[in-house]
Amino acid sequence: MTTSIPSAETLLSFEQEINAIRDETLSKVGQADADYIRRVIRFQRGLDLSSRLVIVLGFIHPLFWVAGVLMLALAKILDNMEIGHNVMHGQYDWMNDPHINSRNFEWDIVGDGDSWKRYHNHEHHTYTNIIGKDRDYGYGLLRLSDDIPWRKKNLWQFFTYLNLSLLFQWGVAYHELAAERIFFGKRRKESHLPISRSELKSAFFSKIGKQVFKDYIFWPLLCFPVFWSVLLGNLCANLIRNLWTSTIIFCGHFTEDAQTFSEEECKNETRGQWYYRQILGSSNLEGARWFHILTGHLSCQIEHHLFPDIPARHYPAMAQKVEQVCKTHGIPYNTGSFAHQYLTVVKRVLRYSFPDKAGQEPLTNH
């Protein structure tokens, strides 16, 4: 699905107004942002540690176990989304802090941070929703656009989607290796990776080893009498985090109207065209402040794609201005409630389960 690109003049004035929003926000970045991210990190660390204790208290009453699992899931969600994703985008590099920066930060997830930075910051953010370039697009497992040929396996892709959601962290970890065909299939001829294939493989296994050790060996063993209950609790917390992050990310790029692009359309594009593509390829979720924080501000996916290195807490305020600028330039701006956007994702996954157009018919046809 592609749209006709607005005139060059429209795109130029659009570019200038988006730049103005960026510059105005950048001039405000400072102490409040540093204080904010430190506060979130402090809260996250406290939650991470105390949740381990509360899970153990499950032997007193199962409700402790449930509370502990939810706390641990929340700690992981904050670590991955509001802290990790944003810090690894370099949003806080200006702080010059030895730990809160894109070079050193590592998150609480099986995917190793350096590897994630390579494909996400680079490929996904540069080639957003260009079929064939952006491997995040459907993660190679789902067909979410007519531009991808239909295959039989797409018939049950809704279940593939549910599985992908539950195992999301593993999918994300495996992503870069899959593309390099490290384990299966032909070797890619021209790899542009800055590290060797064996380094890539060892980074992959080393991070997995550490995460498995922490959640499924160290903490359960430390609380030996309740070994199984701790192990199960950690597993549940990881699954909850997986479901949440994958749902938010799918809502950001695969709602019904989110557009895809061909490689030709994006050759030699201007900054304005780039902005335009980022906006058409993303969709926003509306919600309260706590909701934005829980999504790591990926609820403002459009602003995240326009301004990936501005501290994300500014996105909701920027979103209002961006939406206004889009309106005056006749550029569609996709935003809606969480429930509404999620429903459209489900519809999209179902619709493209079937060969071209046919999917628009009611499901009972098959």
Binding site: R45, N121, H122, H125, G209, F218
Partner: protein, 385 residues
């Protein structure tokens, strides 16, 4: 662009650590990184520790600013009390202090201007700082810490210390380069040393000499100490005449020079003209040490890649990103998008100013991370690459 390698810049290798200790460290690191995603447990706990000890940092020691004392109109001293555990220093060494300026950690290097003996007695150290015109940090420190506050202090560093033994000394100071010598002189006085010391002190004007009263007292107290004040207005810049006239036995002395880079280079040239053995001379640049390479054009900048011991001469036109410069010098820094989006090409700049082509701004002068693919050299640079 031309490049050359400089053997003097090659990385120092530390001696082999005992195997058992090495594996112990390796295991602790592995545990910390699996349980906390940080290389050290302390890094994970830092935000929590800061709840009780504000400004506590894994990157150094806390130090409390007790006083900001005016020395001259544009010079002040910070009186600091380093936290327990700070290991002390030798006269002539410097520290890096870091503070948070509008959310941003900034750091600068200053020589300690008070003596180790004073630290042993009071637990205090002093830094004496000249306010730089349009400087980002030196005017701000003075205002911001007027009412006290906390900074982060590095361990004392540097090898600008007096030679062992009691050979007579010739000290040559330019401007604020007097600070390490104040430390040394106070220390000698405390120790009751009989070591002969001649200080030649250069400054712009007669009113720009620091610590006049203190030095007058030292002169009374230490008969083997003598002081010559030379202001540039009346005496011009350092010359062989100055040395011959005020310190005729210079060739029998160990010589220490401290001050701005041009002054040190002039002093070294003068001493080599006087055929002084370079092994007798120690010096400390109050800024980045100059990169040892000829420029093809006066407008070129020099970039030193410290880890690989390669220097590059970069022409001002056409402007080149540091990523290109590094690659042409034969290095292979990690990169990805090459347009400033992916943050893979981040590298530590140790000193110098870069222009950021994405934001259109100039960087700070101190050490910080930069993105190579969108940075252009705006002055000579030292990169950790």
């Amino acid at each position: 662009m031309t490049t050359m390698t400089d053997p003097a810049l090659s990385p120092r290798s530390s001696g082999p650590a005992p195997l058992a200790a090495a594996t112990g460290v390796g295991l602790r690191r592995w545990l910390a990184s699996s349980l906390t995603q940080h290389d050290h447990f302390s890094a994970y706990f830092e935000p929590l520790i800061q709840l009780f000890l504000p400004h506590w940092s894994t990157a150094g020691w806390r130090a409390r600013v007790l006083e900001v004392r005016t020395e001259l109109e544009d010079v002040y001293s910070l009186v600091l009390r380093p936290a327990k555990g700070w290991a002390g220093f030798q006269a002539g060494q410097y520290v890096e202090i870091s503070a948070e300026q509008d959310g941003r950690r900034v750091s600068r290097i200053f020589s300690i201007s008070s003596s180790p003996a004073y630290f042993a007695r009071t637990g205090l150290i002093e830094l004496t700082i000249r306010v730089q015109d349009q400087g980002r940090i030196t005017p701000w420190l003075r205002q911001h810490f007027a009412g006290g506050g906390l900074v982060t202090l590095s361990a004392a560093q540097g090898d600008f210390i007096a030679s062992e033994g009691s050979a007579p000394l010739l000290l040559i100071a330019g401007g604020s380069g007097i600070t390490p010598f104040r430390s040394l002189l106070q220390q000698l006085q405390r120790q009751g040393s009989a070591r002969p010391v001649q200080l030649l002190y250069f400054a712009r004007h007669a009113q720009h000499f620091l610590f006049r009263e203190e030095f007058d007292r030292l002169l009374l107290d230490m008969p083997q100490f003598s002081l010559i004040l030379l202001n540039n207005e009346d005496h011009g810049f350092i010359s062989a005449e100055h040395i011959r006239e005020y310190c005729p036995d210079f060739s029998a002395r160990d010589i220490m020079i401290c001050g701005p880079t041009p002054m040190i280079q002039a002093a070294r040239a003068v001493l080599s003209e006087l055929a002084v053995d370079p092994a007798q001379i120690r010096f400390e640049y109050f800024g980045a040490a100059p990169i040892d390479m000829q420029r093809a054009n006066a407008s070129d900048t020099l970039v030193a890649f410290k880890r690989s011991a390669i220097n590059a001469d970069v022409a001002a036109e056409p402007a080149q990103t540091l990523l290109d410069v590094a690659e042409q010098a034969g290095l292979k820094p990690v990169s990805g998008c090459r347009i400033g989006v992916c943050h893979q090409c981040i590298c530590k700049k140790e000193s110098g100013v870069v222009f950021n082509t994405k934001t259109g701004t100039y960087s700070d002068t101190g050490s910080e991370d930069i993105q190579l693919c969108i940075s252009v050299a705006a002055s000579d640079l030292i990169l950790d690459l």
